[in-house]
């Protein structure tokens, strides 16, 4: 082992909440992945876009696998492609679209890696229709020092496959992944906007349209209170029929990282700027006319809107995303509104989607509404979030660990349906628990 391959680096979670210095390796050959680190805890890092500290931790060796970003195999007949886990979604889509293919489950930023998507079992813009990322994974090649290279699929090593999809990198190094692609229907989406007056109205619309359109989510002004709480707009997108000659797909190459996001020393978001920006956003999107958006812009909206996250500055932001069952959704929303009225937290926006997931790991599983809340940080926030945790427990909702850097062991164990099972199965798979992170230590896995 050449000790020069490791240095000390400082990592920061995308939301800015966790920052620490630890050992850092950047493997660029298979033999580097296989280096003997003894019992040293380690974790793989992809793009580092998880809002929580899932890819680093105190005294944990970070193995950054961005160099593993190659296409390994392509089966035209079955439309499957085998890629290394460090490949970004943008690189995959750039290539796939040239072949007339598409991947249905894409989170909003193109620099997120395939391995990262498997590890958190990411979702796209219509998880109700397309389910989660792992549903489109046919095979994984996993490396673990004890087990060596292991092919994982629903047929081969299904137990380890289930642990790895949504296992937050705790089973080992996801080396390569085989993905099921679909035919690219068009190069553009028709996007419709429907203004809504409340979260309940949005939920009704989501239930009505989620089966019928290709992407759907809502946005709500977080500064509204009283009868205006939940005022917002629903975005519905459907593939256009045929290819539009006047739409050129251009890939945005501007890269925002968890580090570059924190470049502004202070936050530009405060009660005045958020209110003004939200009113402006609402005014722009008030019209219910149908717009045409190129596929890249519709797929990776945050690549075209990096200022939103950058404006949070070094202080960062907080996001909570919870899966709420359909039966209790209205109760949850009412109680959420009560808490917002009571604590007046620095809420920027709320977003809703319908969700369907069936993993048996730490990612959200089941059906319901995905409710996301974004906040800038101030002194009122912590107490409010503690109350939200209680609400999550009371209503049987499930938090998204990749979005929230505070989730404690107590909350995780009471809310994630597979928590105990995952923990015991992981311990059987890896008694040494070599792959750890700030997140895994915080939630006690």
């Amino acid at each position: 082992m050449n000790e020069k391959l490791v240095k000390d680096s400082t990592f920061v979670s995308f939301d800015g909440a966790v920052e620490l210095c630890t050992k850092h390796q950047r493997p660029d050959r298979y033999k580097h992945l296989e280096m003997d680190w003894g019992s040293q805890p380690r974790i793989v890092r992809g793009g580092g876009y998880s809002f929580s500290a899932a890819s680093f931790g105190k005294k944990i060796l970070v193995q950054e696998i961005g160099s593993f970003d190659r296409f390994l195999d392509f089966d035209l007949l079955h439309k499957t492609v085998k890629v290394e886990a460090g490949m970004t979604l943008g690189k995959l889509m750039d290539w796939a679209m040239k072949q007339g293919l598409y991947f249905p489950v894409l989170p909003g930023y193109p620099e997120i890696t395939i391995g990262g998507c498997v590890a958190v079992d990411a979702h796209g813009k219509n998880p109700w229709k397309d389910a989660t990322f792992s549903e489109w994974v046919t095979e994984i090649n996993l490396f673990h020092p004890t087990h060596g290279y292991m092919p994982l699929s629903r047929e081969e090593n299904p137990e380890a496959f289930g642990l790895t999809c949504g296992g937050f990198g705790m089973t080992g190094v996801i080396v390569d992944v085989t993905l099921q692609l679909v035919e690219l229907p068009s190069n553009a989406f028709a996007v419709k906007r429907i203004p809504v007056a409340s979260l309940n109205e949005a939920m009704r619309k989501l239930a009505e349209y989620s089966d019928k359109v290709d992407f759907i989510y809502s946005w709500h002004d977080g500064t509204r209170r009283g009868k205006d709480f939940g005022t917002g707009v629903i975005f519905l997108g459907s593939w256009l029929e045929g290819k539009r000659a006047d739409i050129g797909v251009r890939f945005n190459n501007k890269i925002m990282t968890s580090r570059s996001r924190t470049e502004m020393s202070c936050s530009l978001w405060n009660s005045y700027t958020v209110k003004a920006a939200n009113r402006l956003f609402m005014a722009i999107n008030q019209s219910s006319s149908v717009g045409i958006t190129d596929v890249d812009k519709a797929t990776f909206p945050f690549a075209y809107n990096t200022l939103y996250h950058c404006f949070y500055g070094r202080k960062g932001f907080a996001e909570i995303q919870v899966l709420v069952g359909q039966q209790v959704a209205e109760t949850f929303v009412q109680k959420l509104q009560d808490l917002v009225e009571q604590y007046n937290p620095p809420l920027v926006m709320i977003s809703l989607k319908m969700f369907r997931g069936k993993q048996k790991s730490l990612s959200m599983a089941g059906e319901g509404y995905l409710i996301a809340l974004n906040f800038y940080r101030n002194s009122k926030l912590c107490e409010f979030l503690d109350r939200i945790d209680q609400l999550i427990i009371e209503t049987g909702a499930q938090p998204n660990l990749s979005k929230d850097s505070r989730i404690s062991r107590a909350v995780a164990s009471q809310t994630l349906s597979n928590y105990a099972g995952f923990k015991s199965r992981l311990l059987m798979f890896d008694p040494l628990r070599l792959y750890q992170s700030e997140l895994s230590n915080r939630i006690g896995v």
């Binding site: 000790e3 020069k4 950047r26 660029d28 050959r29 580097h32 190659r70 296409f71 390994l72 290539w95």
Partner: protein, 244 residues
């Protein structure tokens, strides 16, 4: 077709990517067979070029170039040249390094490269001009107390390329040599240097742009040309106290 030796990672991989993107067929060679195969698959799928990968360990005594030379021969007039961004360093490369360590460093960084080039030049050609591109290091600017054997080998290979260029003046062979500063590869990953590291993809673009030009010795990043002159001018009484 270009032959790229050391194409599994770093500068070699970046060069392979740029050349494939420009439509060049490639023969990729490195000690790390799995990595080179992965690079070859990637380039074929992305750029639709023909890419073959072979295993070659420059560290072994008298490496077997037979298969490589067969491929070079079979390409005939389509063989355009060889690029050798191969090299290795060792943390044991101090005054305490043993004989086998010295041997290994010299083979990878100099001896095997000279042997391969000499063998390639023996392959008969009729009309085509070929380019031979070597890669050295700023470690060869002036001797210092670390990476002792590596620096010596890189100095030797630079000298070999200068001789090669002179010897090939009338032989339809373009000889180029790049002296590389700290590059953003694993080799220099752990070194915190005050100057910006060179980007392999930018170097690769430059190598492709100038591949047929008689440019001789080049520094990359370019500012190392100035730094090299300054380092050479530092009086020994000062230089001996510098730690780098």
């Amino acid at each position: 077709m270009y032959l790229i030796v050391g194409a599994s990672s770093g500068v070699g991989r970046a060069i392979a990517e740029v050349f494939a993107a420009k439509g060049c067929d490639l023969l990729l060679v490195s000690r790390e067979e799995r990595d080179t195969q992965a690079v070859a698959s990637d380039l074929m799928l992305r750029f639709g070029v023909s890419v073959k990968s072979l295993k070659l360990d420059l560290a072994v005594p008298y490496p077997d170039f037979l298969e490589i030379l067969d491929d070079v021969r079979s390409f005939g007039e389509k063989f355009k040249g060889v690029l050798i961004p191969a090299g290795t360093i060792s943390s044991a490369d101090t005054l305490d390094i043993n004989t086998s360590g010295i041997d290994g460093l010299f083979r990878v960084n100099c001896l095997s490269i000279c042997s391969l080039i000499n063998e390639i030049l023996k392959v008969p050609r009729i009309t085509n001009v070929i380019t031979i591109v070597g890669f050295g290091s700023i470690a060869s600017i002036r001797g210092r107390g670390s990476n002792i054997i590596y620096s010596a080998a890189k100095t030797a290979i630079r000298f070999y390329f200068e001789s090669l260029r002179h010897a090939c003046v009338d032989k339809k062979v373009v000889v180029q040599f790049y002296v590389l500063g700290y590059m953003d590869t694993n080799l220099a990953f752990a070194y915190n240097v005050p100057l910006p590291k060179g980007v392999p993809a930018e170097l690769a673009q430059r190598v492709y742009r100038d591949i047929q030009k008689d440019i001789g010795v080049n520094f990359f990043p370019r500012y190392w040309l100035i730094l090299a002159m300054i380092i050479k001018l530092i009086p020994w009484t000062i230089y001996k106290h510098l730690k780098f």
